[in-house]
C-alpha cells in the first residue's frame, strides 16, 4: 500500500457521503432558496472536482478506493431511507430513482458497452410490469419469481428485435427499436386481453408473505409503506450494479467493448460480434424488465402510457446525462431528471426551464456526462502509477 492510503480512503468516504447528504437535503427541501442552493452547491463541487488539481486528486482517490466509496454509498442510502422513514413522497421518489437507475444500468450495458441504441427501453420496462400483472393475477407464483419472470419475459421478447438489431448499425438500430416501442404500445392499447388503455391492476409486492402494501411499522416504529419498496428498489439497484461491474471487469467486458468499437478487428481475433452484442442486449433487457416488474407492483397498476416514446427518451437521456458507461451516473442523472422537476414545483412555471438549463449546461461543460466512464483497470494494481 502506498503511504497516502489513509487520506485516499478518507476522500473515498467523504465524497459519496457528501453527495448523499446533498441528495437527502434536496429530498427534504421545500423552499426555493434551499433547492437553488443545493443545485449551485452540486455544480460547484463538480467544477472543483473536475477543474482543480486537488479536486482531481480527490476524484482519483475515489476511483482508486472504489470498494470504500461503494460501501459508504450503501450505508448512506440506509441512513437516508431511515431518516425519511415516514415520508411517503420522499420514499416514493427514492424508490422511483432507484428503479429507473436499475433500468438504466441495463440500458448502459446495451448502449455504452454493446453500442446498441435501444429507444424502446420504456416499452421493455412496461413489459416487465405487464408480466408481473399477468403472473400475479393468474398464478400463485412467489413474488420473487415474478420479478425474475419479468426479466426473463422481457429478455425473450427482446429476441424479436435481436435479428434486426444485429443486422443494422447506428441510426438504423435506433429506428428499429423506435418502431418496436410504438408497436408494443399500440398493441397493448388496442388489445383487451391486457386491459386496453386502462391497463391492469397489480397487487402489492409480497415476498415471503410480507405484503408490502400493509406494512405500517417495523419493530414497533411507524414507517411509510413505501419504505420497504425503497429498500427493495435500492437492493435491486445494488444487484444490477454488482452484475454490471462483474461483467465489465471480465474477459466479456473486453469482448463487448471490442465488438462495439471495431467489429472487424474483433472478428479477426476470433470474437463473434453477433454473440457479444446479443449478450449485452439480452442481459440489459433482463435488468430493465425486473426493474419494471417491481415498479408496476409499487404503483399498483400498469397502462400502455408508460411504454411511450417519450418515456424511452427519458431513460436514454438519463444514461447520456449520467455518463455513458458510468453506473453511479445513472443514480445522479435519475435524480436530476426524475426528482428535480418535482422538487422545483414551488416555482411552477420556471421548473422545466431550470431543468432544461441544467441539462444543457451539463452537456455543454461535461460532454462525457455528469460522471464519465472510468478507464477499465484489470488485475492487481501493482506497477500502476496512481
Amino acid at each position: 500500500m502506498p503511504g497516502n492510503g489513509l487520506p485516499k480512503r478518507a476522500a473515498a468516504v467523504a465524497i459519496p457521503a457528501l453527495a448523499f447528504a446533498g441528495l437527502a437535503w434536496l429530498l427534504g427541501a421545500e423552499r426555493e432558496w434551499e433547492i437553488v442552493t443545493i443545485l449551485v452547491g452540486f455544480l460547484a463541487v463538480l467544477v472543483v472536482l473536475d477543474r482543480t488539481q486537488p479536486g482531481r486528486a480527490v476524484a482519483a482517490a475515489c476511483r482508486a478506493e472504489r470498494s470504500v466509496a461503494n460501501a459508504t454509498a450503501v450505508i448512506a442510502t440506509l441512513v437516508v431511507l431511515w431518516t425519511f422513514r415516514e415520508e411517503h413522497f420522499a420514499l416514493l421518489m427514492v424508490a422511483t430513482v432507484a428503479l429507473s437507475a436499475t433500468a438504466c444500468v441495463g440500458l448502459n450495458i446495451q448502449m455504452a458497452f454493446g453500442g446498441i441504441a435501444n429507444f424502446a427501453a420504456a416499452a421493455f420496462f412496461t413489459l416487465g410490469a405487464y408480466t408481473a400483472a399477468v403472473l400475479t393475477g393468474h398464478t400463485a407464483l412467489p413474488h420473487l419469481l415474478v420479478l425474475a419472470a419479468g426479466g426473463a419475459v422481457t429478455s425473450v421478447l427482446g429476441l424479436v428485435l435481436l435479428l434486426p438489431v444485429l443486422r443494422t448499425r447506428g441510426h438504423y438500430v435506433a429506428l428499429v427499436t423506435i418502431a418496436f416501442g410504438l408497436l408494443l404500445r399500440n398493441l397493448l392499447e388496442v388489445n383487451d386481453t391486457f386491459g386496453g388503455p386502462q391497463g391492469m391492476k397489480i397487487p402489492a409486492f409480497a415476498p415471503f408473505g410480507f405484503d408490502f402494501g400493509t406494512i405500517t411499522s417495523i419493530a414497533g416504529i411507524e414507517v411509510s409503506f413505501y419504505l420497504p419498496y425503497a429498500l427493495a428498489a435500492a437492493a435491486l439497484f445494488g444487484m444490477a450494479f454488482l452484475a454490471a461491474r462483474c461483467l465489465e471487469l471480465s474477459w466479456i467486458g473486453i469482448a463487448i467493448d471490442a465488438v462495439r468499437t471495431d467489429p472487424i478487428a474483433a472478428s479477426t481475433f476470433g470474437l463473434s460480434p453477433a454473440r457479444w452484442k446479443a449478450t449485452a442486449f439480452l442481459i440489459g433487457n433482463a435488468m430493465i424488465g425486473v426493474a419494471g416488474a417491481l415498479y408496476g407492483m409499487m404503483n399498483g397498476f400498469v397502462n400502455p402510457n408508460g411504454a411511450g416514446f417519450g418515456e424511452s427518451l427519458t431513460l436514454i437521456s438519463i444514461v447520456v446525462l449520467g455518463g455513458l458507461g458510468n453506473l453511479w451516473g445513472t443514480v445522479a442523472a435519475s435524480a436530476v431528471v426524475l426528482a428535480l422537476p418535482e422538487k422545483l414545483q414551488p416555482i411552477q412555471e420556471y421548473r422545466l426551464l431550470i431543468f432544461a438549463a441544467v441539462v444543457i449546461a451539463i452537456l455543454r461543460f461535461r460532454p462525457g456526462g455528469l460522471l464519465p466512464r472510468p478507464l477499465r483497470v484489470l488485475g492487481s494494481r501493482d506497477g500502476v502509477e496512481a
Binding site: 461483467l247 469482448a255 478507464l375 500502476v384
Partner: protein
C-alpha cells in the same frame, strides 16, 4: 518434406470489373518469413483480407495446415491461428493498452457467462497472469508501453500504437502472422528497432510463419527468407532478395518501362 502451413492456389478476387487478385499460387512453410512487395494497389492488403475471411474470394482455394480457410468465418480463421495487423491502426483508442492487447488472447480464454460471474478468483488469477505476460511482451518493444499498460491506447504515438497492434497479434500465439506495413510512418531508426524486436521474437518461436507487406527494401532484405512481388493482383516474382533486385519484371513494375 511436409505440406506447407499455408497453401493458396488460383486465388482470385474481383470487385466488379476490377481484378484485385488474379490466380495467386502462394505457399508458406512453417518458420519462414515471406516479404510481400508490390506497388500501391497491387493487391497485398486484399490478399490479407481474403486470408482473414473479411472478403470471400471469387475463385481459388486456400488451406491452413490442410484445412480449407474459406469454409470458416473470420472468427474461426482467427481461432485457427491466423493473426494480423492492419495498414491503418485498428485499436480501441479509449480503452487501455492492456485491453487492446488482451483482445488478441481472448480466443484462448473461457468466455462463458457463469465463468465470469461465479469464478471471480480464478478469473482474477487469469487476468493477473495475462497482465504479466502482456507486460513482458510490451517491454521488449518499448518499456514505456509496459509501464503504462492502463493508460488509454489513444494517448500513445503512432509508432507505439503500431507496436501495441503487433503485441496484440503476437499474444494470440499465431501460427501465421500477417503484418501489413508495420514500418509505415516510422523513421528508419524506429523501423530498425522494430525489426530487431521482430527478429528476436522470430528466433524464439521457430515455427511461426510470417507474411510481411513492406515498401522498405532494407526491411525486406533483413527479415525475409523469400520475396514475392505482386503487380495488378498477379504474382510476377518469387525468389530470394538478391534475385529480386536483379529482376527486370520487378524493375518495370516499380519504375515503369524504359529503365
Amino acid at each position: 518434406m511436409t505440406a506447407p502451413l499455408l497453401a493458396c492456389s488460383g486465388l482470385t478476387m474481383r470487385f466488379g470489373g476490377l481484378v484485385a487478385l488474379d490466380g495467386l499460387d502462394i505457399a508458406v512453410e512453417r518458420g519462414t518469413t515471406i516479404g510481400l512487395v508490390g506497388p500501391n494497389g497491387s493487391g497485398k492488403t486484399t490478399f490479407f483480407n481474403v486470408l482473414t475471411g473479411l472478403y470471400r474470394p471469387s475463385a481459388g482455394a486456400a488451406a491452413l495446415a490442410d484445412e480449407d480457410i474459406f469454409a470458416k468465418s473470420p472468427q474461426a480463421i482467427g481461432r485457427a491461428g491466423v493473426a494480423r495487423t492492419f495498414q491503418h491502426c485498428r485499436l480501441m483508442l479509449d480503452q487501455s493498452v492492456f485491453d487492446n492487447i488482451a483482445l488478441g488472447a481472448l480466443r484462448h480464454r473461457h468466455l462463458g457467462l457463469a465463468a465470469q460471474f461465479f469464478r471471480r478468483r480464478r478469473l482474477r488469477e487469469e487476468i493477473d497472469a495475462l497482465v504479466d505476460q502482456v507486460r513482458q511482451l510490451a517491454n521488449r518493444f518499448n518499456p514505456a508501453i509496459a509501464t503504462a499498460l492502463f493508460e488509454p491506447a489513444g494517448s500513445f504515438t503512432m509508432i507505439d500504437r503500431r507496436r501495441i497492434e503487433i503485441c496484440r497479434a503476437l499474444i494470440a500465439n499465431p501460427r501465421l502472422l500477417l503484418l501489413d506495413e508495420p514500418s509505415a510512418g516510422m523513421t528508419p531508426e524506429e523501423t530498425r528497432r522494430l525489426m530487431d524486436d521482430l527478429l528476436e521474437f522470430r528466433r524464439e518461436s521457430p515455427d511461426l510463419a510470417v507474411i510481411l507487406v513492406e515498401h522498405e527494401m532494407d526491411v525486406i532484405r533483413r527479415v525475409s527468407n523469400r520475396c514475392i512481388v505482386l503487380n495488378f493482383g498477379r504474382k510476377i516474382f518469387e525468389g530470394s532478395f538478391e534475385a529480386l533486385i536483379e529482376d527486370r519484371d520487378v524493375q518495370t513494375a516499380y519504375l515503369g518501362s524504359g529503365h
